[in-house]
Symmetry: C2
Subunit: 339 residues, 2 copies
């Protein structure tokens, strides 16, 4: 009998969230540990094993886990390692897939969080049935997962799909966290929206705005959203500006892979028409004739609390048997050929 569950693990800079997921995308149970508690990666894996095993036992899922999928920053699908990360307490490269697979004795696949989101959306969400789409995650940064012909694009080295770092302002662009200037992420992330608000407040110093009631450095994208919803002109202009840049970028992405749809996910995606209206307008205005009016812009249908675990878990279905000899499947019977 094939095993009915997968485990999804989302490793963030603060929390590591994990859950048991069934084939229909229902999160049976979930829990979390602190990511930064242990300075030794083996201690972290030990705690993860202890807590996840409790969850598996409590939910009668022993010997029923098909595979484990992990979403983590800078995770490389090909090598199973985390490389070049900045937000985790362990020195890179971290052979994460191998460590987890050896500890649990089940196949493990890893990828970065935006790719995991794309796979989750394709497996359980609004992208079910789509073979060509691009997931854009609009959070603290801008991430992406590109699906072409039903397959996630990993590229030559496993790191493809960093659309947040397409340079959209070649001249005098804002400094980005990556060290370069003018990246999409510097404008269309939550932090980008806050930066735009500050720029507008400074440049239009005589214009009244609800945002003037707070210190510039305290303004968040949520504050800008609240002000815009309350009718604030300057705050609405911030969303127009953000949507226009993102829409132009999506038109440019379209000539690359001719996707059927873009799927937006993350905090900013919840701004609804405030962002979507200027985005669609700019996207269509900049779209080359053959794709005008043809590319959909969709919003993620996954519950945000579950999305990270769901996305990671979807990878668990395709996780392959680990190559390390110590990684024996928990239940060898499951590998026996069907009669």
């Amino acid at each position: 009998m094939s095993k009915p569950y997968v485990v999804g693990i989302d490793i963030g800079g603060t929390n590591t969230v994990f859950g048991i997921v069934d084939a229909r995308g229902v999160v049976i149970a979930s829990s979390s540990i602190k990511t930064r508690k242990h300075s030794n990666i083996n201690d972290y894996i030990d705690e993860l094993h202890t807590e996840l095993t409790k969850l598996i036992e409590a939910n009668d899922a022993v010997d029923k886990i098909h595979g484990i999928g992990i979403g983590a920053p800078n995770a490389n699908y090909y090598t199973g390692t985390i490389e070049n990360h900045v937000n985790l307490p362990w020195p890179p490269p971290i052979p994460l897939a191998q460590l987890v697979s050896e500890k649990f004795g089940v196949p493990v696949s890893i990828t970065n969080d935006a790719n995991a989101a794309a796979i989750g959306e394709m497996t359980y969400g609004v992208a079910r049935g789509l073979k060509d789409f691009i997931m854009i995650t609009l959070g603290t940064g801008v991430g992406s997962g590109i699906v072409i012909n039903g397959q996630l694009v990993y590229g030559h080295d496993g790191f493809a799909g960093e659309l947040g770092h397409v340079i959209v302002k070649p001249n005098n662009g804002r400094l980005c966290g990556c060290g370069r200037s003018g990246c999409l992420e510097a404008y269309c992330s939550a932090t980008g929206v806050a930066r735009t608000a500050v720029e507008f407040l400074e440049a239009r110093s005589t214009e009244p705005s609800l945002l003037r009631n707070m210190a510039l450095e305290d303004i968040t994208s949520k504050d800008v959203y609240d002000a815009a919803i309350a009718g604030d002109k300057l705050a609405k202009d911030v969303f127009d500006y953000t949507g226009k840049i993102l829409g132009e970028a999506l038109a440019n992405f379209t000539v690359f892979s001719a996707p059927e749809a873009f799927v937006l996910f993350g905090g900013l995606a919840k701004s609804g028409d405030l962002l979507l209206k200027p985005l669609r307008e700019a996207m269509e205005k900049n779209m080359i004739a053959i794709w005008k009016g043809k590319v959909k812009v969709l919003f993620s249908e996954l519950k945000e609390a579950d999305a990270a675990v769901l996305g990671a878990s979807a990878l668990g279905w395709e996780a392959k048997q680990p190559v390390t000899p110590s990684a024996i499947p928990v239940s060898p019977v499951a590998s026996a050929p069907k009669a």
Copy 2:
């Protein structure tokens, strides 16, 4: 016995060139007809059939053609039709694959010319063994063929990979043939180079240049090349400008699919270091850290006279049996199972 040859047909606005190609990529024989001689597509197909049959018979290749590959502007791999074209004398959509397949009784695959070039390069040229690369054709326009995980990217509708129409100048960009402004093609094609030369000559009206010996409207990219080779400062600046824009674009394309290499093809690609030096400099300067120094820029290794036919012919190896009932293979014996 499997059939040892394929036929490649390159349909251009003026000439239709076709040739018989063997498995090692040798063009056994080739010939051509005028594309625009017949206003009726069936008359065109008839002449193509007559001339190609002569070539096949003269080279002892009867019953030895595995498939036919066709490269043509706006050709759609999925549907086998030519759509939205502007340079051919027949009303779209043209069911080209079906017409040719019915006439010759062999499987036919079609795609646009830049995609054909990419497949040719992967099958016979410098991209042999590469699973992830992007072909950039620098001719009258800028075309591209994107290969990811060994497969050409066609996208949702068959038209993916139009990187010549990425907008690289969002503000005050040049008008492009596609009707929009600021496309890569408006700068980095042969015509783009000539336009840049004219702009520079007008803006720097007191600066001497060899290009001032000719009328502005007569300047071609070849003239700019010759002047640059002769040491002309303004002409060299034109190549610096062109290479910089192309290099910035290649850095942006890298974040999409993380290719192992870009392969440059076409007239401008022959400018050598004049173009390559500023290109590489701008590409590395704009490259995000993880890919700095890692992405190759290669030049096509196919002879230019053969390249179009070779590229198209490579598609012939993967051409599938036509679905139309009238298309019976010329030699049914060849389809019989071995042994």
